[in-house]
Amino acid sequence: MLNYVLSRLLTFVPTFIGVTLISFAFIRVLPGDPIIVMAGERGLTDERYAELSAQFGFDRPMYVQFWEYLTGVLQGDLGNSFVTKKPVWDEFFALFPATLELSICAMIFAVVLGLPAGVIAAVNRGKFFDRALMSTALIGYSMPIFWWALLLIIVFSGNLQWTPVSGRIDLIYYFPNATGFMLIDSIASGQSGAFTSAVRHLILPTIVLGTIPLAVIARQTRSAMLEVLGEDYIRTARAKGLSPGRINGVHALRNALIPVITVIGLSVGTLLAGAILTETIFSWPGIGKWMVDSIFRRDYPVVQGGLLLIAVMVMIVNLTVDMLYGVINPKIRKR
């Protein structure tokens, strides 16, 4: 087991360096000089240009620059935003809880609906329920989520006026940002109505972001269940006279869960990509919207740093899933 963990960790290092290299290269392959971009329309004198160039280290050899960038990254130094002048690292972790909160809610939504849907479809294979659920799942899987978001806004915010269109909470509530998680902070503030408001703001973004993972989980659960239901031990369980609920819920589902957990782990990347669209549409102040805004503002240090942090986060999650998988399924370790 230790060998397995170590070998997985070892593959992490070159990938990490590669990811750092890409985000490092990003600012240097851009058309145009980053310093001139930063100066904006006012322009620069030659002396000032040389001064700034020295300040950012652009006048030194590439490998020295990369080494400094890498050591900076390892110490949590990703440079400062051109626009706000604040450290990129701090900005990222100030906004990250918003994305995390939304992603967790979306994942809960996807799992809570997707697992039972997959099980029901598998148990009723070929019947009406199976067809209906799997057709719905395929539609969800094919959904352009930015359009789905607009449709939900038309119906639930426009026509029915049930949910707000944007933001995380109504502006009448104000309280200190203790944890960054609006659901927790709103309860902690003790203001009546704050929690309800936070929940109402979460509903539509959660549905939008959770739709594709939901479809993927439902499909995966169904096919994993079908595979397991054909196994001998299920027949044994049936022959023993166990109730269908116990067979499907305990014997089959537990074994079907392994591939499903992998899929859940691997959808983290999908979630973050979806967060870009979802947050932009619902003006959700998280990482996705921050990245898109920074791309449009040409705030290169932010784009560079954000890209790196997001990639590292996806890598850590994938690594964790891999290791968990090794724990659950001993066969994997022996590769």
Partner: protein, 298 residues
């Protein structure tokens, strides 16, 4: 659907016939195929079918609803957008952009990915490791984010969006091809080809590759729909096709501020994307069933 097999017709049916036999069993896939055919037809002949010029602005008919609503007319069957352009014509002509995106992205990503995957599968271990680590690096970035950043570097346009999406999708082909190559390489027919004196390239492209194609074809169908979705998403974020191009995602972006006043400018382009992507995914499922006998029974 009755198949009669007598002793004298027991020879193996042609590959295409066998494929069609299994493909046809999946009703959804056949429906998907028909929708896809219609989509391809519109992509090819759109400009001649569309009732109006997709960029012509009829200033006295802005935001007209579809014909079945009050105020709508048959002149503009699906209504007009805020600039008075005919929605139906824009949707029809827009089909060609999505189709084009799908074809180009899949061709670039698949051809590049297959070649790199073949090399990785046949290469010595050190080269294989380097290639796969590079692919891991690309896969570490969420695809849409990487595409978005690449387009920001290259400059927003449909061509650059296609390049970016192709780069992002390529690692999947590399992994898939390499995995199949590694599995096939062990088999006797490859050894016998090698013993018979087949050269390196012959082994790669003539002996092994045709036997690795089934999963790659399925992947091609699935990434066709991913490409359309991603290109539309980039268009929606303002980083894909630029206005006034009637690309579906770009149309949605332009329509965003009118969502509460004119539902049709938002609904139809999205519906077009959904139906197209759904049809391709249905087809992909059918392809998988028909090409991969292992999965056929599930």
């Amino acid at each position: 659907m009755t198949v009669t097999l007598s002793a004298d017709t027991a020879e193996r049916p042609g590959r295409l016939r066998e494929f069609w036999f299994y493909f046809r069993e999946n009703r959804g896939a056949v429906i998907g195929l028909w929708i896809f055919a219609a989509f391809a037809f519109l992509a090819l002949f759109g400009p001649w079918i569309a009732p109006h010029d997709p960029t012509a602005q009829f200033r006295d008919a802005t935001l007209q609803p579809p014909f079945w609503q009050e105020g709508g007319s048959w002149t503009y069957p699906l209504g007009t957008d805020p600039l008075g352009r005919d929605m139906l014509s824009r949707l029809i002509v827009g089909a060609r952009f999505s189709f084009f995106v799908g074809i180009v992205v899949v061709s670039i990503a698949a051809s590049g990915g297959i070649i790199v995957g073949l090399i990785a599968g046949f290469a010595p271990k050190w080269l294989d490791t380097i290639i796969m680590r590079i692919m891991d690096v690309i896969l570490a970035f969420p695809s849409l984010l990487l595409a978005l950043v690449l387009v920001a570097i290259l400059g927003p346009s449909l061509t650059n969006a296609m390049i970016a999406i192709a780069i992002v999708l390529q690692p999947h082909y590399v992994r898939l091809t390499r995995a199949s190559v590694l599995a096939e390489k062990q088999k006797d027919y490859v050894t016998s080809a090698r013993v018979a004196g087949a050269g390196f390239f012959r082994l790669m492209f003539v002996t092994v590759l045709p036997n690795c194609l089934a999963p790659i074809i399925v992947q091609a169908a699935l990434s066709f729909s991913t490409a359309i979705l991603d290109a539309a998403a980039l268009g929606f974020l303002g980083m894909g096709a630029q206005p006034p191009t009637p690309e579906w995602g770009t149309m949605l972006a332009e329509a965003r501020e009118f969502i509460l006043r004119a539902w049709w400018v938002v609904t139809f382009p999205g519906l077009a994307i959904l139906v197209t992507v759904l049809a391709i995914n249905l087809m992909g499922d059918g392809l998988r069933d028909a090409l991969d006998p292992k999965l056929k029974r599930s």
